[in-house]
Amino acid sequence: MQLKEERLRSLLLGGLVGDASAYHIFLSELTAHLRSFVRRRLAHLPEEVEDLVQELLLAIHNQRHTYDSAQPLTAWVQAIARYKLIDLLRRRSRTNGLHDPLDDDYDLLAAADGDAAEARYDLAKLLQQLPDRQRLPILYVKIEGRSVADAAKRTCMSESAVKVGIHRGLKALAGRIRSIA
């Protein structure tokens, strides 16, 4: 446990200074822990598990500047996971309140549990809803893997505008995911 915490923490700290491969390993290794955390708590909503795991990964990414390196990584991640979990349950109880509890909506969603490693939302569709100044930087840099300089040239934006577009766009994506979930 302690070793795992240390390992993940140093990978994240690497990510925070711009080491993308350390950051990639951090997110990948964290995923399995997040999934088991979520699965244990959403036993009655198995179809929500992978969606929430991805929502959590996005939240952790978007809020990574709030990690204080003096703080245990586990405390930070768990506080985010708990916040998102409660947020999800609250959203669900609100929408369920509008439906007849016997509505077959629930069965329909339960049937979609085929591939647990796949979330139900579609990044391409979500991206479509963003304005170009956020969508294009995410498309070029985050999805196609181009450099910020290259994306800036293609979009006729400054490099800092590209970075801001990515940051705001990913935050906006989190908002979209929240509103459809």
Binding site: L16, G18, L27, Q54, A79, Y83, E118, Y121, V141
Partner: protein, 214 residues
């Protein structure tokens, strides 16, 4: 979408985080909010003319300033702690209660020692009816500025974080407002200043869950 693809997307082209980013935003917000609050107090309410001479020699002036400043500091500590996931709130609320209790004890002593006919003036002064509202008004730019910082961070207890933002703005607003206010009696500012701080605090508790979700 597969989670491993999602992870790759997030990790691709990831940028270094500026470690001073949050501190810089706090600084910008507080400076901007203070300047706006000072402009409102000086330009519309007017600074108290007594500030240029005898007021600074009054010990009670400094007690009042210290009272507001201590509460503002505690409010700000609470805001910064509530803004980060997994950080305990700690002793800031207990500190606020301590400062208020000390002030009320002091104010009660002042009232008890004063001749009966003076007591009402010590408590109500000449501006009790407007004081809390003016403090709330002076706090508006500070409140907006602190919410702006919080929206970039990740509070997980939104109602509490909103209330802390309101309290920090209110007590810092009270500190600025005191440059206009002629009242120096402890029963006065122990009561009406606190009430003025509690207006943005309640507003923050209401707005927190509405404005700070992430």
């Amino acid at each position: 979408m597969k989670t491993e693809d999602w992870v790759s997307m997030l990790a691709t082209g990831v940028d270094a985080i500026d470690p001073k980013r949050t501190a810089r935003r706090h600084f910008l917000a507080i400076t901007g909010g203070l300047l706006a609050a000072l402009a409102f107090t000086g330009g519309i309410l007017r600074f108290n003319p007594a500030l240029s001479n005898r007021m600074l020699l009054e010990p009670m002036f400094w007690v009042r300033e210290a009272y507001c400043a201590a509460l503002a500091l505690l409010g700000f500590v609470a805001v910064t702690r509530l803004a980060r996931p997994g950080i305990r709130l700690g002793l800031a609320p207990a500190g606020v209660v301590t400062v208020v209790v000390v002030m009320w004890t002091f104010a009660a002593t002042v009232l008890l020692r004063a001749p009966a006919q003076n007591r009402s003036h010590l408590l109500f002064g000449t501006s009790a009816a407007v004081c809390p509202f003016l403090i709330a008004l002076v706090a508006v730019p500070l409140f907006i500025a602190i919410l702006w910082v919080l929206r970039d961070l990740a509070p997980t207890r939104l109602r509490l974080a909103g209330a802390a933002a309101g309290f920090a703005a209110g007590s810092l607003g009270a500190l600025v407002y005191s440059l206009h206010c002629p009242e120096l009696a402890a029963p006065f500012f122990g009561t009406w200043y606190l009430l003025g701080m509690l207006i943005p605090t309640s507003l923050g508790a209401w707005l927190g869950p509405r404005l700070m979700r992430w």
